[in-house]
């Protein structure tokens, strides 16, 4: 009688163990554009990412979170090209700009870290170590990602544009159309081995996409097909083109 019961219990337990228990998924963090997946799978909450320069790469990091409805705070970047941000895929309704916080940039960044999901900061030339540590700790505590455009100790990932080349421009004619860049990711998060990715930043269609050799070939095919369909080369902006500069009287 008792043995039978024990058997039943054991069988029940076995079925529980056999059933694959779905592991509790970690917080997926904040998304990044698919083209950047080769460099970082996503912005982890509490992570500090260092980007060299205030250019398109920093803006591209804001694109996916802002589209997802996250607020992005931007501190000390009066030169941020909002139109470029919009073209790279940012939802500019979710941007909050504090252009000139002056001496109070630490307090402003701290206030934004507590509420916005991503904070993009251009720190002054040599930020004091204490301040750096405080903000890194605050980012970890509040679960926001801090993207720093400039030098910063204690970042877990460093993104650097190693080479970049613009196309579409020649001696006296054409216009800037696309840029192919080589981005290198290094730091603790990728282990000892830096990752490299070729990106269109932006591509001929204005978006950020992969630019490794395979995708370049397919992109060229697509463009060739489009040019054939349109029936001509359109490198030079002409007066009747709505987006081309012309004298306005």
């Amino acid at each position: 009688m008792v043995a039978a019961r024990r058997q039943r219990a054991a069988a029940a337990l076995a079925s529980v163990v056999d059933a694959q228990i779905e592991p509790v998924r970690e917080d997926p963090g904040l998304p990044v554009l698919p083209a950047l997946h080769g460099l970082l799978p996503g912005l982890r909450r509490g992570q500090v990412v260092e980007v060299d320069g205030t250019g398109a790469l920093a803006l591209a990091l804001l694109a996916a979170p802002s589209q997802d409805g996250s607020w992005c705070g931007v501190v000390r970047m009066p030169e941020l090209g909002v139109a470029a941000a919009a073209e790279l895929g940012c939802n500019i309704d979710r941007l909050l700009l504090v252009d000139e916080p002056g001496e109070r940039w630490v307090d402003v960044t701290a206030a934004l870290l507590e509420s916005a999901d991503v904070v993009l900061l251009q720190p002054p030339a040599r930020p004091p170590t204490g301040v750096v540590r405080r903000l890194v700790a605050l980012a970890r505590k509040s679960g926001s990602a801090l993207v720093v455009a400039g030098g910063w100790e204690g970042s877990s990932l460093r993104l650097k544009v190693e080479s970049s080349s613009w196309s579409g421009i020649d001696q006296g004619h054409g216009r800037l159309r696309s840029r192919r860049v080589k981005v290198v990711a290094s730091g603790r998060m990728v282990g000892g081995r830096p990752r490299t990715a070729w990106l269109w930043l932006p591509g001929p269609d204005g978006s950020v996409s992969n630019a490794d050799l395979a995708s370049v070939a397919s992109m060229e095919e697509r463009l060739a097909a489009r040019a054939a369909a349109v029936g001509g080369d359109d490198t030079e902006p002409t007066g009747d083109d709505a987006t081309s500069p012309a004298e306005v009287a």
């Binding site: 470029a84 073209e87 080349s165 216009r175 004298e247």
Partner: protein, 508 residues
Amino acid sequence: MTPPRVLVLWCPDWPLTAAGTDPAVPAVVLTSGRVSACTAAARATGVRRGQRLRDAQRYCPDVEVLDEDPEGEARAFEQVVSVIEETCPRVEVVRPGLAAIPARGPSRYYGGEEVVGGMIRDAVLGRDFVCAVGVADGTFAANLAARAAFDDDGLRLIPSSSTAGFLAPHPVSVLEMPELTGVLFRLGIRTLGDLATLPPRDVLARFGAEGGVAHRLATGQEARPPAPRATDEDLSAHIDFDQPVEQTEPAVFAAKALADQMHAKLGERGLACVRVEVEAGTADGETRSRLWRHDGLLSSLAVAERVRWQLDAWRTAGQLNGHLTHLRLAPDQVVIDTGRQLSLWGQAENDEQVARAATRIQVMLGHAAVTRPQLAGGRGPGERVVRVPWGDSVAPTLPADRPWPGRLPQPSPAVVHPEPPPARVLDAAGTPVAVSGRSTVSAPPARLTVGKKEHTITGWTGPWPVREYWWERSRHRRCARFQVTTEDGRAWLLAIEDGRWSVEAVYD
């Protein structure tokens, strides 16, 4: 429990009356792009509240458009309130255009609600303000009674016994809870009577606190059950100014802190207040007070805003002349706080957090320090964006969705210098490059110097001449733009104006 008798005075289309518009002239007031009030003449043509301006103009092409001016409305309404105060004290301003008075005391004193209502109506009409008066159980029913009275002789009494019957035929939309009433309407609950017949418990279970409030109103009760509390507790907050203040601004600043204190006191006890009493005293011994509707919905900033309106109104009316010595905020009619339902997934909560952070930074650095970008129209890289201070909603003066011939082609530069730094552009021989009036370049540019750095130009295009606003001297601008790539892989947007080169933007 039946609510106390309330007398409500309603001035229709108050925002327009306050602006001094004749009801016979079609006019609308806009609040964030939508019509928030319109004159009788505009209404006759089909204009309604909540319409977009475009639709309103379709109905009535020559409609006059006014901007919202809450301070002006509050100031103008003070004239009406002071007229009422000559007859009975304790006037509560629900919002500019709508005032409520407890009816029991005055009606005993003057001998009947009809007498008081008639006196107040005639007094306000005597000052040339169009109005209607309703008396009923509770503010909600009295407000509807006043609206019903408007087409009549301007006075409507609803006896206690027939309040429910009076409310029943009104559509649920009069509750002014658009989200809730939208659902109710689709469920086939079209009138307050339909809603009142439902069991209160089920309504509360299905629609939460808001549904409970709606049901209570529909059955002719107060929106919230009154909170039993010890009467000796002082929930008010007040401040004595050591230095009597002359300007409104410091008082408003203090009011924000007072409102915080008051909300904290109420919050500790899980209470909210229906009204807040604003009391101000001056150095020459004058004291004024006024009630404002609160309903547990106002933030501290909103309370401070009402204090500002009230102080301005008193000062304009000459009722508060000396320097302010004290300010007091007291909650009136305390109820149990049912809280607010946060929307699913915490999105709204996040927005609120961001709003709080933005306000905090504005306190630190000033109102214009926190901005939200908006795309605007323009040709240069800097002109295409306006930065709107947080909390303001400004439509760009130059809309982005027009054709802007000569606009910079995409892609846009990622770094736009607010103040373009000067540059030097030399040709291969080392002489500065110039552009003639006919847009010819003196020689192909070869070297670019920005600051102390020198770059070799690998590719260039231009000039793209721009001549803007030649009809306006102060905004007139004539320049030519170049896109240039340099050997370090960067691309630049250069401009030459009056022979001087500058770096407008960098494609980084």
